[in-house]
Every structure is written in C-alpha cells, then in structure tokens.
C-alpha cells in the first residue's frame, strides 16, 4: 500500500504538471493573448491542487484506517456472555488469524469469523483508498484547470500558497509543544485521579506495584516521588561537582591562556566528547567507573553498591564538561577587551585579571550556562538507567543505589503498557515534572544570558 500509493502520487504530480503547462499554452493561443504569468506557474497551480488534497486524504487514511477497522470488528464481535475479554489481546489474535491462516487452527469460531470480517474490511478499505485518492486528484486537477485562463495571475496565487506552506512548517514547532503539553497533562490527570497529587509530591514511599489480577489487595502500591526527586538531585549534584570545575577551568584556559594552535586542536576534541551518544557513556559508567567506585568505596571502608549515584554522576559530569566549557568560553570571549586591558594596564597579572575582573563580569552568563547544564543533567536518561540503579532510596550517600525521574519513566514503560493502571501513568506525571522543571530552568537561563549579552553590546 505504501509503495504503490507513492507511485500513484508521483504519477499524479508528473501528469498534472505536464497537463497544466500544455493547457495554459493552448488556452492563451486560443484567445490570442499572452498569459499573465509564465506557463510553469499555471502548471504548479494545477500540481498543488492535485497533490495537497490527495496528501491530506492519504495521511488521514494511513492514520485512521486501522483504528476504524478495529472498532468495526470489535463492535460486530459476537461476545459470548459471561466470558471476559481483553480487547487488546483479542484484536491481536484476530489480526494474527487474518494475516496468517495457519494460526486459525484451534481458534474459536467467533475469532475466525471476526478475522474474515477484518480482512474483508481491509480489502474494502484498500480499494476505496486507491479510488478515493484517484478521484480526489482528478477533482483537484479539474478544479484548477477551470482557472487556467491567460488573465489569471497564477504566480500571485502560487506565492501565497508557498507562504501558507512555510507558515505550516514553522508552526510544527508549536504543534510539537502543544502535543507534548497535552499528552503529558492528559495522562497525568488520569494518574492524579487515582493518586492524590500531594501524595505524589510529598510522600516518601515509592512502591509502584499494582494488583496484577483484579481484586488482589496484597500490594496497593504507593506513589510518593520524593525519593526519586532526591535521587535526581543527588546525581545532578555529583555531576555538577565534576563538570563545573573541569569545564570552567578548561574554558578559562582555552579563552585566556592557550595559543591559537592549542585552541584549534582541543576544541574539536571536546566536541567529540559532546557528540558521543549517551548510551556510550552509560556503557563506560557500567563497565569502568562503577567497578572502580565500588573498589574505592571498599578501600575506604564504605559498602558501595555496584550501581551508585557517584558512578552515574561522575560520568554524567564528564558528558556535561564540553557543554559548560563551550558556553563559558563564549561568555568569557564576549567580555569586552577594554576591561581586560584596563586591568592589565594597572599592573594586575593574568590570573588576577581573570579572577577579579573577567569572571565577575562574566558571572551572569556563566550562571546561565550552569543552569542549562543542570537542566541537561536532570533530563539525561541513558547513563542513569544503566549506572544508577532502579531502587528508590532516600539517601544522601553517593555510594548508594539511587534512582532518578528519567529512570522511573523508563522502568514504568518497559514491557507491558497497560494504560489503565497508575504504574504506567506515573511515567507521564514524572515526565510532566521533568518538563516543567527543565523548561523553567531554560527560560531563566536564557533570560540571564540574554540580559548579559545586552549589557555588553
């Protein structure tokens, strides 16, 4: 379906273009006047009318076809009274039987009937899909061809359409944000309908177990996210303890001391550090740093667990170094040269100039960089998933196992996703918290940096 419909659309594009072009030439010849725009604009006009309605139909069909068919199949399904059905499993079974007749052996008659219903519906949908696309394309071309008169300003219209397309492209970012906010809020509301928001934010017990079977009351599950927030904070603090001194000192060295040649070699190397996928850092943390931390902990008499906040935080710090160093480098470089020269001119040496003049002047920008780095550290997933552990642990000891917001999101969504239990939905509530915090940090950081830039411009 995918391939042939693309071929169909390509043929439509090509033929509508040729058609529009020859048609306008013919029309203007008939009337004996020159057309207002070049023939290619009329051709583009026909093309757009042929293509865009068809594309809209194409995508909505692709998106909604399966759901509509499933709904029809389910609503026509002959449920046996008294039996309990799981809709998802039932659908999967029907689909399997429909796609692969060999699965039909031993299945109940209702399922086989539903499967044949399903495949017949699919066939109908397939045929009507192609016919409707062809009809829509023809209708579009027909509508456009009526306008192909020499006195019609095709170029103006085309340029207006292009504007619409461009505006649509730019608003994708807005749609994305709206999509994020709505999906997070919608699912979080479902979560908070079952778990009170105060329990979530202020309680310290996180046992997201839910009854596996209905009526099972042994484990109720409790959703107090404080240990998770504490773990996130702990890992973030460790990461910043590594990244801030290393990143800032590297930036100062590169901006103030290093020769041009050193700058030219070191900066791309730091960019490599920034470009390494986070899962690679996770591997590094798991294979090299975590055993080292454990051994180190034992050597000083602390019982360190194999996955610890320290290991994850240290590696995360390394990941953030290039982030801090490049942002701080920019900030330091944008401190006006005159400040530097004035300080050196009254006899201060380089270190004094940096410590007493440049850093204070650059402080707001550097703080902005730190805030951005914090938001990066909080949102980082793979390192902590691999190296920090999954046990919620309310502790300040970095040698212990902690868990973070991102880890709990991953844990909640790996495996079976049943969207009717609070365990799965808790991922969205945690995601909402994460989104709000990082957004907040970013807005503040961007404000600070912006104000700082304005000061020296």
């Amino acid at each position: 379906m995918f391939f042939w419909s693309l071929v169909l659309i390509a043929v439509g594009i090509f033929s509508s273009f040729i058609y529009g072009r020859s048609r306008i030439k013919l029309n203007s010849k008939k009337q004996g006047t020159k057309s207002k725009s070049l023939p290619t604009y009329y051709a583009q006009y026909v093309l757009m009318w042929c293509l865009f309605p068809a594309l809209i139909v194409y995508f909505s069909w692709a998106i909604f076809q399966e759901q509509i068919i499933q709904n029809i199949v389910i609503s026509n399904f002959e449920f046996i009274e008294g039996a309990v059905y799981n809709e998802g499993l039932l659908l999967a079974e029907i689909r399997n039987v429909a796609n692969n007749p060999s699965f039909a052996d031993g299945k109940s008659i209702e399922i086989i009937n539903a499967a044949s219903h399903y495949s017949s519906l699919r066939q109908i949908s397939q045929i009507s899909f192609y016919t409707s696309i062809i009809i829509i394309m023809l209708l579009g071309a027909l509508y456009a061809s009526q306008k192909l008169k020499p006195e019609f300003h095709a170029q103006h219209t085309i340029e207006r359409y292009i504007q619409y397309i461009l505006i649509f492209c730019s608003s994708v970012a807005i749609f994305t944000t709206i999509g994020i906010v709505f999906s997070l809020i919608f699912e979080s509301l479902r979560f908070f309908a079952e778990v009170s928001i105060f329990e979530f934010l202020f309680s310290t017990e996180w046992y997201p177990f839910i009854p596996i079977r209905e009526g099972q009351t042994a484990a109720e599950g409790s959703f107090g996210a404080v240990p998770i927030f504490a773990g996130t904070f702990l890992v973030m603090v460790v990461a910043m303890c590594v990244a801030v001194p290393l990143g800032l000192l590297t930036a100062i060295y590169l901006a103030e001391y290093a020769s041009q040649r050193v700058r030219k070699t070191v900066k791309p190397l730091l960019e490599i550090l920034a470009g390494i996928p986070t899962i690679v850092y996770g591997f590094f943390a798991f294979v090299s740093v975590a055993p080292f931390v454990k051994a180190f902990g034992q050597s000083i008499g602390i019982d360190a667990s194999p996955t610890s906040a320290l290991a994850a935080g240290m590696v995360m710090g390394v990941m953030i170094i290039p982030f801090i160093s490049s942002l701080s480098d920019d900030v330091i470089n944008s401190v006006p040269q005159s400040l530097r020269e004035a300080s050196l001119g009254i006899g201060a040496n380089k270190a004094e100039t940096i410590k007493k003049v440049i850093l204070p002047a650059a402080l707001p920008g550097i703080v902005g960089a730190f805030l951005l780095a914090i938001s990066r550290a909080i949102g980082e997933t793979m390192i902590v998933v691999v190296a920090a552990g999954t046990a919620p642990n309310l502790t300040g000891n970095p040698f212990e196992n902690v868990t973070t917001v991102t880890v709990q999101i991953v844990v909640a969504l790996i495996g079976d996703q049943e969207f009717d239990n609070p365990r799965t939905l808790s991922a969205f509530a945690l995601g909402l918290v994460l989104f709000v915090i990082t957004l907040f940090l970013n807005i503040i950081a961007l404000q600070i940096v912006k104000r700082y830039r304005e000061r020296y411009e």
Binding site: L166, V172, S183, L254, S288, A351, R376, I414
Partner: protein
C-alpha cells in the same frame, strides 16, 4: 634601610603573585588535560573491551553425511534436502567428537557448540550435495562460553560452581586447543545477523538497518520542514508576537529532554493516531521532532550568512520576493543547511531514550526490510546488550559502540567535507 625592606617586600609579593598566576594557568591546563584524558580512556575502554567481538571461535567437527541418518538419497530434490534430518547428523557427530564418551559426557560436549551448528551442517550440505555418504571435516561455531574462555574474557581460576564451563568441559577445551581443533576467525555473524538470545550468533545487521530506516524517516521529515521554517522565519516572517512565540518555542524545544519526546511519541503517535509500535516510522517521526530545533537553528545561520546584496540584486531586476529567496538565497545556503541537517541526524542516531519509549526495545531477531516493520536500532541494541547478564554480550555491546562511533564519525566527516567544499566565504 626602609627602602630596601619595602623593595624586598615588593619583590616577594611579586614573586608570590606570579607564582599564583602560574598556578592558575596550571590548574586550567590540568583541567583541560583531564577532560581529554577521560576521552582517551573512554575510547580505550571501548576498544579494549570490544575488539575481541570481531572474532569468533570455530571448532573442527567431523560430520558423517550418512544417507540413512539424513533420510535422503543422492538424487533427492532440493525441497527434500531442505527437510533432511540434519539434527540427527549433528547428534551423531557430537557423540563421536571424542572417543568413548559416556551419556553425561555427551551432554557436556554438546554445550561446547553453538545452537547454530545444525544450520551450518545443513548449509554446508546444501552447498555441496555431493558429500552425501562421506565424512567431512567442517568448522562450526563454538558456544559463547568456549569463545569467551579462549578470548580470556571469562576466568578459569574461579570456583567451579561460578563458572559457565565445569572442569570436565575445561579439559575438553584444552584438549581441542592441543589438537588444533579450534581456531579464531573473523566474526561474519556480527555483521550479517540480527539480535539473538545466543551471544555467538548475535549481530548488529538488524539494528543497523533499523537505524538506517529511522534516519531516513528523520531526514525525509525534518529536512523540508526545517528549511521551510527557517526560510519563513528568516525572510518572510513579520516582526510580531506570533513570530516571537515561534522563536521562543523553538529555542525552548531544543532544550526539552529527549525522553519527553519519547512520551510525546507514546502518548500521541501510538495512542492517539495508532501508528504501529516499535517501527522506524514512529521512531523516526519522534526523532525528527526532536532534532527539528537543532536543524532549524543551523539552517537559519546559513541563510543569514548569504549577503543581502544577492537578494537585493534579484529584487532590483524585477524578481518577486519569493523568486529572489527561492532562486537565489536558498540555493546558496543549501550546503550550510545540509551540514546542519547531517549534524542533527548524527544527534538523532545516538538517541536511545525516545526509542525505548515507543517500543523499539522489543527483541527483534530478524533484519527489518521496511519503515513499518518492527525493528531495533543501534543505540537501543547497545543498551539491551549492556543490560544483559550473559558475559558474551559485553564485548558485543562494546563492538556495537565502535560501529555506531564509526558511523557518527563518517557522518561528521561528510558534514565537514560539505562545509569545506561548498560553503562560500563572502
């Protein structure tokens, strides 16, 4: 007298100050070196853990292709040959692997071989059907435990109950080494097979193809949209609140954690639109939305770099604004936009968390062939192997990291090449 004391004080103070200066410079230098040392150590760790995965251990096995055991005749058709009883041949071969094996010993010997040996015996026969009723010495893949032992990745001096291979099996392996019946060769499975529960036949081909399909989707979606958005914002957008809103939106979106995009994919693309789970189509769409801000920012920078005189020249000879932009500015900015897109794609290639959210973490033992088929992706494959308890997967994960790093390196090299080759200095 007073003068010389003051002088001495000044000299010592100056000495102290310049020492302080030196020390500060030294701190900076040390910090830089430390950061780079970590990079070197990281790469060294990956290489030292991973290079062994490019080799596999094979064992010489004498197979008797007896027609009775196989239930075939020399003139069987191809279809019949497909259904030959190769597992019986294998069983027989293993029983005779060492002379005089007891029943319990046979069980132990069997565990020295990969699960894939049946297929290898079969493939050898299908390639050379004339070997029927002869004895053949063929090299077959060893079990991962043997492989790891011979590579030195698992230790033999730990107590027996904590080892994968017991003492008898160890003595068998030693005997094989002595008789030159094992050797290490290039591991073709790593590049031709998809994931597997058995480390010795697990490969990256499936996840590599999955990543390619995902990147293709990202490119198809994000490149046109990013160009459209950046052209609009840079050339056409009126200075008003809506434009400002879009700009703020883009810069904030660039800093949203990737896992939140995964939740978007799960909540909207999978649950509302009902797109198929675990597929490159959904993964690519999510990553496209995620990388869009990066690409837009890069595209805008390259559009900005085109001097206004070009556009003004076109306008002066009577082009409309659309013509001036699309015929003159955009083509000149294209290399820069492509560079930005490739860098965005490199970012998308390494992203793991959003793909886990939309289910690309499922175990997929075959190589995907389309955008709407369930598939794995390289970074998720690495994650699965890192988390796996089996020892043989650790070297695989490091080797897969090497593959992904080489892939990334090539993409960046292309981007740099494009930039140097086509970007004009005005």
């Amino acid at each position: 007298m007073n003068n010389s004391v003051a002088k001495e004080k000044i000299v010592s103070l100056r000495k102290k100050r310049s020492l302080e200066d030196m020390r500060f410079k030294y701190y900076g230098f040390t910090a830089m070196c430390l950061s780079l040392a970590v990079l070197v150590f990281l790469l060294y760790t990956i290489f030292s853990k991973g290079y062994t995965a490019f080799q596999k251990t094979i064992v010489l096995l004498e197979v008797d292709y007896n027609q009775e055991v196989l239930k075939l005749t020399p003139d069987s058709s191809d279809e019949e040959m497909e259904k030959g009883k190769f597992f019986r041949v294998k069983k027989q071969a293993i029983e005779n692997f060492f002379p005089d094996l007891s029943k319990s010993d046979i069980k132990l010997v069997k565990k020295l071989f990969s699960i894939n040996v049946d297929n290898e015996i079969k493939d050898y026969f299908l390639d050379n059907p004339e070997v029927i009723n002869t004895k053949q010495q063929i090299w077959v893949t060893a079990h991962s435990d043997v492989d790891q032992l011979l590579k030195g990745n698992s230790r033999r001096d730990v107590p027996e109950d904590r080892r994968k291979l017991n003492d008898i099996q160890l003595s068998y392996v030693d005997q094989l080494v002595e008789e030159n019946r094992v050797k290490q060769v290039f591991n073709n499975f790593f590049f031709t097979k998809a994931d597997s529960r058995h480390p010795e036949i697990a490969g990256v081909a499936g996840s590599f193809m999955g990543s390619l399909f995902t990147l293709f989707t990202v490119f198809i979606l994000s490149f046109p949209i990013a160009i459209g958005a950046s052209v609009y914002l840079e050339e056409f957008a009126p200075k008003n609140r809506i434009t400002e809103l879009i700009e703020v939106n883009i810069s904030n979106l660039a800093a949203v954690p990737s896992i939140v995009f995964g939740l978007l994919g799960l909540g909207v693309l999978l649950n509302v639109f009902g797109l198929p789970r675990s597929t490159p189509l959904v993964g690519g769409s999510v990553l496209a939305l995620m990388t869009l801000p990066t690409i837009i920012i890069a595209c805008r920078a390259s559009l900005k770099a085109v001097p206004p005189s070009i556009k003004e020249g076109a306008l002066a000879v009577g082009a409309t604004k659309t013509q001036a932009v699309f015929h003159h500015v955009v083509p000149l900015a294209l290399p820069g936009t492509l560079t930005g897109t490739i860098i965005g794609l490199a970012q998308a290639l390494g992203e793991t968390a959003p793909l886990i959210m939309i289910g690309m973490i499922a175990f997929i033992p075959n190589i995907p062939t389309g955008l709407t088929e369930p598939s794995a992706a390289l970074p998720v494959q690495i994650y699965l192997w890192v988390e796996s308890a089996e020892r043989g997967f650790q070297e695989k994960s490091a080797a897969a990291i090497m593959v992904i790093l080489i892939f990334l390196f090539m993409m960046n090299a292309i981007a740099v090449f494009l930039r140097n080759r086509f970007e004009r200095k005005w």
